[in-house]
Amino acid sequence: MAQAAVQAPAIAGAQPKILDVENLSARYGQVEALHSVSISVRAGELVAVLGPNGAGKSTLLRSVMGLTTSTGSVRFGDQSLPRRGTSKIARAGVVLVPEGRGIFAPMSVAENLQLGAYMIGGRGDEFERRRERVLTLFPRLKERLDQVSGSMSGGEQQMLAVGRALMAEPRLLLLDEPSLGLAPKVTAEILETLGQLNRDGLPILLVEQKAPLALKLANRACVMSNGRISAEVDPREINSHADLAQFYFN
């Protein structure tokens, strides 16, 4: 496996926990998809959650956001997040970029960005400042502001999904499979932007199947299988596919 030119450093354990999940379990009907999962994200940290299809990675993010029926404790900073009430969780500063992007396809790019800043009203000086920042990060969106977002390419839609999330100025960003359905180079560019945001101080919990790309950015990684965290990985110790496979299959 190719190593990143610059590997993200480990974050010192003294940094406060921004997100602290303890014994989180979730179920879809009779099927338990998450079994007592505990995971944390520290200030300034990018934590990658890896694992095969059906491991429970997306359910973990959806449960943190209160989008599933779940039990357990989720603390965000010094407050306890409710297990239902997604809009309250979003207002607390946790923003999810869902799997499949979740953009509002019939709406224009500009309207999607306005919805991202829904909590500040979608207008005004503060809105303009945030929009300018997003359009600087993703110049392609600037050229497409009036375009119906559903007619854009997959890469542009993913940029919009991330840009829309950033419009809320999150205190914690949850990203679900940002590489899904994208060409490797596009994925690399988007992840590079996310890495830059993280280096600027934004804590990120990243769910990703493409482990090599995620490990380049992550300060820490967890491997999930069958709804449980099966291993915690220091990305600096992963030097080959064989190293990674060991965590996947053991």
């Binding site: 999810l96 019939p106 306005q114 919805l115 809320a168 560019e189």
Partner: protein
């Protein structure tokens, strides 16, 4: 940067998008000038345009299904009829009481039912329509049952009454303009964007901080307000009300107008209301075959204009899609 061709297409698309509205205004203008029977037909079309605009906010913007909008029209219509014809109230306060009644009913019914989704919500709203219909039939001491209430005064304020057909049509045109203007403002407001967002994905909307349950209820209340005003105007224009006026036929007509005109568009309800009211009159000369040809015309409209007549101009607006000046290094053609 947009190419000159794209700029031309954009301008053309913008001009073309006004064609349905211009045609609707021209038809109403024609009715005012010519007078006679067509004024009555145009008047009903404009009342329905208000009713369907409300339905469009709930179904077209928020993506929810309601088969019970006739209930709110009945509450508005009967409140106006009873208060003015039986108790001698002036029309405007009676209409406002009707709106208040419709809002209270929408809150009481909407709070539990809007937590339901899909078919369950549709069935719950259908029940509201049936309950209100049965109430208008059975509560004979107030509604006169099937006999209905007659002698309802025309709209007006103080000694000024809107009596002539043409004056009524002008008044209805003003009300429709206000209704459509407010629908446009709603669509382009924070509230409207939130409604369209939750119609796309409730989970994605929640994740942006939108209180989905509250917004669905608010959309239901707004649509009930439009329906109530339409119901009140109907009874004052016609001067009579009976249960059949606000029966299931009103719901079916409303749906037809919404889909033929263009669900989710601002101008669609007006276009649909005019077309659906005028089509049967257009085919009147066919006598026995009138209903058959009317049905075929509706099917053809839905086949060849599935997004509605108002949406026919959309392909031209899509030309606003511009090619990027800078191509992302890693990204080639669109998938």
């Amino acid at each position: 940067m947009p190419t000159s061709r794209n700029s031309t297409s954009t301008s053309f698309g913008r001009i073309l998008s006004w064609v349905p509205a211009a045609l609707a205004v021209a038809l109403v203008g024609y009715a005012i000038v010519v007078g006679g029977y067509i004024v009555t037909v145009a008047g009903f079309a404009l009342i329905y345009a208000v009713f369907v605009t409300g339905l469009n906010i709930f179904m077209g913007y928020a993506g929810q299904a309601s088969f019970g909008q006739n209930a709110f029209a009945a509450i508005g219509g009967y409140t106006s009829a009873v208060l003015t014809a039986t108790y001698g109230w002036p029309p405007v306060p009676a209409m406002l009481i009707g709106v208040a009644g419709a809002i209270v009913c929408a809150v009481v019914v909407g709070y539990p039912t809007l937590r339901l989704k899909g078919h369950y919500l549709a069935m719950a709203t259908l029940a509201i329509g049936l309950i209100v219909y049965e109430t208008t039939v059975q509560w004979q001491s107030v509604t006169q049952g099937y006999m209905g209430i007659s002698g309802i005064p025309p709209l007006g304020i103080g000694s000024f009454e809107i009596v002539s057909d043409r004056a009524q049509l002008i008044f209805l045109s003003i009300v429709v303009a206000i209704a459509m203007g407010s629908a446009w403002l709603i669509r382009n407001s924070r509230f409207g964007r939130a409604l369209v967002a939750l119609s796309g994905s409730e989970d994605a909307a929640r994740a942006l901080g939108i209180d989905v349950a509250r917004y669905k209820l608010a959309a239901f209340i707004v649509s009930a307000t439009y329906a109530s005003i339409a119901g009140s105007m109907f009874v004052h224009i016609v001067g009579f009300v009976s249960p059949e006026v606000f029966g299931m036929n009103m719901v079916i007509l409303g749906f037809t107008m919404l889909y033929v005109g263009g669900i989710g568009t601002v101008i669609g309800p007006l276009v649909g209301a005019i077309v659906i009211n005028l089509l049967p009159e257009t085919f009147r000369a066919l006598k026995d075959y009138q209903d058959l040809v009317y049905g075929i015309a509706l099917i053809l409209l839905l086949i060849y204009a599935p997004g509605g007549l108002a949406a026919l101009t959309r392909p031209f607006k899509r030309e606003r899609t511009v090619k990027p000046a800078v191509t992302l290094a890693s990204e080639g053609a669109k998938p």
